[in-house]
Amino acid sequence: MEHTKKFKSLNLHGFDRSTEDYGKRPFVLTAKLLEDQKKAIYGCAFNQYAGIDEEQAVATVGGSFLHMYSVPIDINNIELQWSCNFPTDKSSKVEREESLFTVTWCYDTYEAENDRNPFKVVTGGTLGHIYVIDYVSRKLSNRLRSVGWEINDIRTCPANSNLIVCASSDQSIRIHHIRNEACLIVIGGLECHAGTILSVDWSTDGDFILSCGFDHQLMEWDLSVKQVKEHLERACKALHQDKINVLTQSQDIPYVSKGTMRKSAVSRNIPDKEEDQLLELHRELIPRPSCLLPIYTPSSVSTDMHSDYVDCIRFLIGTNYALSKGCGNEKAIHFWRFGPPKGEVENRIHGNVLRPKSCTTKFRTMNVPSGSAWFIKFAVDPRRRWLVCGGAGGSVMFFDLRNNEETNPTHTCSVGSRTVRQASFSTCGRFLVLVTDEGFVCRFDRVSASVDAKDLAKF
């Protein structure tokens, strides 16, 4: 009761968006709730396709649950709207259970053209499946399946709202269309990461992908090549119909279980030889369309930026600068980009054209005091001011992007006693949501400089 009244008196969101933030305390903890499943929450994501004046929705994943919350602007609360459970069939002998690690939002343009709900929530986890869930009907729209092991990060392409990229523990990066089960592009091989890939991100124009993982390396993958662009355009055009899952990953016999194959093998003997030969000839003459394009070589590789696991990498929106976070011994976030320093040109002639670039330019290093644990993802303020990173012991650290000299957090607050796994900003910049290992979902509101300091201290 008192919290609600105090929140109203603060009037945090009644000011112009261009007002500066309150320097000493730019964000204030306004709401906190505990998910009763008693499991760690690993991922959270605001709907990046919601308008500034529309309802802000945030999805959280942890264990086998996906929770959907709305963040009202006039009440300091996080309202649970609905949730989904992904239980494993206990009759199966497989001991693996689904545990979701990451979540993102997509906008299905085909559904929008047909006046159906286009907003989709995409999540993935331990089993390597990617679930596309319709937020209106709360049912499974599609299940994408091509990853061999855990999915550690899913990001939506800013240039194409139907495409997602996912980082996997099977040392590959896959680009999916949310309407197709098989992936369109697979990135892997001898030149790819030698360990688990923990994070990926798209550039704003969709031409590059950055990746990082266990092997201390940062890699940039070029999707602006003509061959790749044409492949994606062809695949998106084929999927922009009234059918889903029309493209397969291989022209050979697909992955099937043993029982099914035995039945198929038996049924092959039922028709006579001529029909069998005709069927085989037909299948050879008209192969099913294959949509898999492998990419084996990165365009840039950095082995000297980090000296331990790299668990989060993000592009600065609209630029080619990047932020990457190291953990373990190296508890720091680096601000850098690929390429030589300003004014220098790299000559790519003769044999060097075939070699990935390796020159980087680092601008800043920000220390994360309690950032030893891995799988902690930071968030960048859409208003281009703050960088928020969680840490062990429930600490939340804010870094000022406009102060280049400061290497320590501008200020730190605490939301619990366990690791803060992920932070997510709403696209309007007003709200910040954090999730922790204890199952807490915490809401922070941006504080304007014109807010009364006395009222803020009482909150």
Partner: protein, 773 residues
């Protein structure tokens, strides 16, 4: 290239690993702070090992020099970085007030002007129907605030929760690139990172175990002295190498000591030319600053398949010297013989074809070049010899083609021959008339003595049976020579140790007979290469590349009657699958260059084909990968297979023995392996790249196939063959024999598996094929 990391499946139950990185890091941090971990200096440009005391002094001096140069370059770098921060990045940060949601902006661009983005609201959510879905409640606990706006206490908040099917669960699998042939990859002397072996494991302890095998170190166990990138490194090397007078190995090692996370010493030593190519001005020569690289002599070519010194192949290498290995290029002899008509025939005087007819050549002119005897003069034609090598080097304009054609058309009258094959209007050719052609033949004639003629001719080709017998006799004599050498060494050993020589010899013979039931076993000890040398092939020929193996293949340039040359088999079609076939017995695949009767080059699907050519023709059984009852994924057949029939080849990265040892040490910690050893050295690792054969599981009780190393076109390859008749959908398993640490690791796993209760389901593991010898 990166080192590969095998994966383990997630343990059953809860996933807790992501919160315990602290323990690992704390242990790692503790150890690395106490003692920085550097590898020892490697002698790359120095032939002698440098003493550590002298090395440390050189390193300290070099460090001071490098740090002095580095500070100046870093200041320049900081100025550039500050400039970029103050202009580009500051502009981006200042743009915050007018920031636009890039996702919505680009989505609007894609939709076009006519359409708008759908409005997002929770009011659009459909209500749950009672019988439509299995819906339960999901609750959250309000902590702050704990009351509603009206003041009511709200501890638990409920919302509907729908159940979504997970679908089929597949065993975990690492991404691998499908290939059809093995790819040779270089050694990876530096581990890119410490692999993740699970939470709670101290990286420092594993470092002590692994560092001995990686001479270039492991990334991440020491800190860089400061930030460095390619541009700074280039500037630093240009400034430092200008005045450096010490040892080059000390210089590169000092770079490694300052920036161990940038590169290793070996990588630093080869980085400067690449950096100069990227950043230097045009015309700059990197070797002017690295004079020690000029004096480094390139290593000689190992064999024909891996040439590193191409000059050696031309026998004119100035570094490795001249080697007189003249090949016998022409198996049918070095000379052509032909009949050339003689002029001065009164009967033909009136039949000249033109003013330039060959008949206008006088007999005196012919006698100056040729020496016809009296009998040839009476017959009005002379026998001449052409040297094949001379014709081969002759350009066409000089008439090489005409000579070649004439060799096989000497029965045609010379005028008709010239009219048919010589173009009088060809301005580029020097041979344009009948007389020119006759002069060409006279000039090409060689003065060959009878002895040289005999020397240039090959001996008569022996029959297949004789060649087989000679080959077997040769192999038997080699085996006897080896046994004699072994017995002599045993006698020397007995004499030195005071043991009974005859007893030792008897034990050795018994052990040898148990190991090898064959009288002669063709075991290759080195990769098969082709020999090209003068003289016969035997164990004492120094220039023979096949001396160590004792077998010449069809690629060798030795005579076809060479007793060391593998003669191939003489089986009927379709019979090459028993010990009666010499190719099958020797683990060689049939080859059309050596085998004549077994039809191994037949492509007609109706006739009986050779059964010992599966890998040569890449004809494999169709297989697929599916969940296995043994472990993880398994390999299953799509076609039936007869006994001893070729199923598939095992392909992957072709690595060296040392690399196999390094990767094996890492794979052992995961209790899985994809390394398959080859007898002649090296191994095949199908972890990152391979074909479906990598999914074959181990089964020591009832394996369905066995692995065999075959010589395919002179190359050693691993193939899987059926142990018995296999039906469709049968799983392909095979038994492998581990050695050393791999055996111990696998036994531990096996014991662990056996100790589990049968009622409890076994934990999922990746398929664990093999290391085989």
């Amino acid at each position: 290239m990166s080192n590969s990391e095998p994966s383990t499946s997630t343990p059953s139950g809860k996933t807790k690993k992501r919160g315990k990185k602290c323990e690992t890091s704390m242990g790692k941090s503790k150890k690395s702070k106490n003692l920085p971990r550097f590898v020892k200096i490697q002698p790359i440009f120095s032939s002698e090992k440098i003493k550590e005391t002298v090395c440390e002094q050189g390193i300290e001096e070099c460090k001071r020099m490098l740090k002095g140069h580095f500070n100046a370059i870093k200041d320049d770098y900081d100025i550039r970085v500050k400039d970029e921060l103050d202009t580009d990045i500051k502009d981006w940060l200042k743009d915050a007030s007018s920031s636009v949601n890039e996702y919505r902006r680009r989505l609007q661009e894609n939709l076009g002007e006519g359409r708008t983005i759908a409005k997002f609201s929770f009011k659009n959510c459909e209500k749950y129907e009672e019988n439509d879905y299995k819906v339960s409640d999901s609750t959250v606990t309000w902590i702050k605030p704990d009351r509603t706006e009206e003041g009511d206490l709200m501890k638990k908040f409920r919302a509907p929760c729908s159940r979504i099917e997970v679908g089929d669960i597949s065993p975990p699998m690492i991404y691998w690139v499908p290939i059809e042939q093995s790819v040779a990859t270089p050694d990876q002397l530096r581990l890119t990172h410490m692999p993740y072996f699970g939470d709670g494991i101290d990286d420092g302890n594993i470092y002590e175990h692994l560092i001995d095998m990686f001479p270039d170190g492991i990334h991440g166990f020491s800190d860089n002295w400061s930030y460095v990138n390619d541009w700074i490194l280039y500037k630093l090397c240009r400034a430092a190498l200008k005045d450096y007078q010490g040892s080059p190995d000390v210089f590169y090692y000092t770079l490694y000591r300052l920036w161990p996370n940038k590169s290793s010493q070996r990588e630093f030593s080869s980085a400067f030319p690449v950096l100069c190519e990227n950043f230097a001005e045009k015309g700059f020569d990197p070797s002017s600053l690295e004079p020690w690289k000029k004096t480094k002599i390139a290593e000689g070519a190992q064999n024909l398949r891996n040439p590193t010194c191409y000059a050696c192949l031309a026998y004119t290498c100035a570094i490795h010297g001249f080697k007189a290995e003249i090949p016998i290029e022409f198996p049918n002899g070095e000379f052509y013989n032909a009949m050339l008509p003689l002029p001065n025939n009164p009967e033909n005087d009136g039949k000249m074809c033109s003013g330039n007819c060959w008949k206008s050549v006088t007999m005196k002119e012919v006698s100056e070049v040729l020496v016809p005897d009296s009998e040839e003069i009476l017959q009005k034609e002379v026998k001449i010899y052409f040297m094949k090598s001379r014709i081969a080097k002759m350009p066409i304009e000089d008439g090489a083609l005409i000579v070649n054609i004439y060799v096989f058309n000497t029965y045609i009258p010379f005028c008709e021959f010239v009219k048919k094959y010589v173009d009088e209007d060809d301005e580029e050719s020097k041979i344009r008339s009948c007389r020119d052609a006759y002069h060409l033949m006279m000039s090409m004639a060689e003065n060959v003595s009878a002895r040289r003629l005999k020397m240039g001719q090959p001996s008569n080709r022996l029959s297949i049976k004789d060649r087989v017998n000679n080959f077997r006799r040769n192999q038997l004599s080699q085996e006897k020579a080896k046994r004699k050498l072994r017995h002599d060494s045993l006698r020397i050993q007995a004499l030195r140790d005071g043991l009974d020589a005859e007893k030792l010899i008897r034990e050795d013979d018994m052990r040898d007979s148990q190991r090898n039931s064959e009288k002669v076993r063709m075991t290759a000890v080195t990769p098969i290469t082709a020999c090209r040398h003068a003289g016969p092939c035997n164990a004492t020929a120094e220039n023979c590349a096949c001396r160590e193996n004792g077998v010449c293949s069809y690629m060798c340039k030795c005579d076809i009657n060479c007793s060391q040359r593998f003669p191939g088999c003489n089986c009927a079609a379709g019979q090459c699958y028993t010990k009666a076939c010499q190719c099958y017995r020797a683990n060689w695949e049939c080859n059309p260059m050596t085998c004549n009767m077994c039809k191994c080059d037949a492509i007609d699907s109706n006739i009986i084909k050779c059964r010992n050519f599966g890998m040569t023709r890449m004809i494999q059984k169709r297989t697929y990968c599916g969940p296995s009852k043994i472990a993880g994924n398994g390999l299953f057949l799509l076609e039936p297979a007869e006994k001893d029939e070729f199923i598939t080849e095992y392909t992957g990265e072709r690595i060296s023995d040392d690399e196999a040892e390094r990767r094996g040490a890492i794979y052992d910690r995961y209790q899985c392996s994809y390394i398959f050893n080859i007898e002649t050295g090296g191994a095949i690792d199908s972890y990152k790249i391979g074909n479906l054969a990598r999914f074959a599981n181990h089964d020591s009780k009832n394996p369905t196939c066995y692995a065999r190393t075959m010589v395919v076109a002179g190359e050693h390859r691993i193939g899987f063959y059926a142990k018995r008749r296999l039906e469709i959908s049968e799983e392909l398993t095979f038994d492998y024999s581990y050695s050393g640490e791999h055996q111990i690791a696998f036994r531990m796993v096996q014991t662990k598996e056996r100790s589990e209760k049968p009622s409890r389901p076994k934990s999922q593991k990746l398929s664990k094929p093999m290391t085989s010898e």
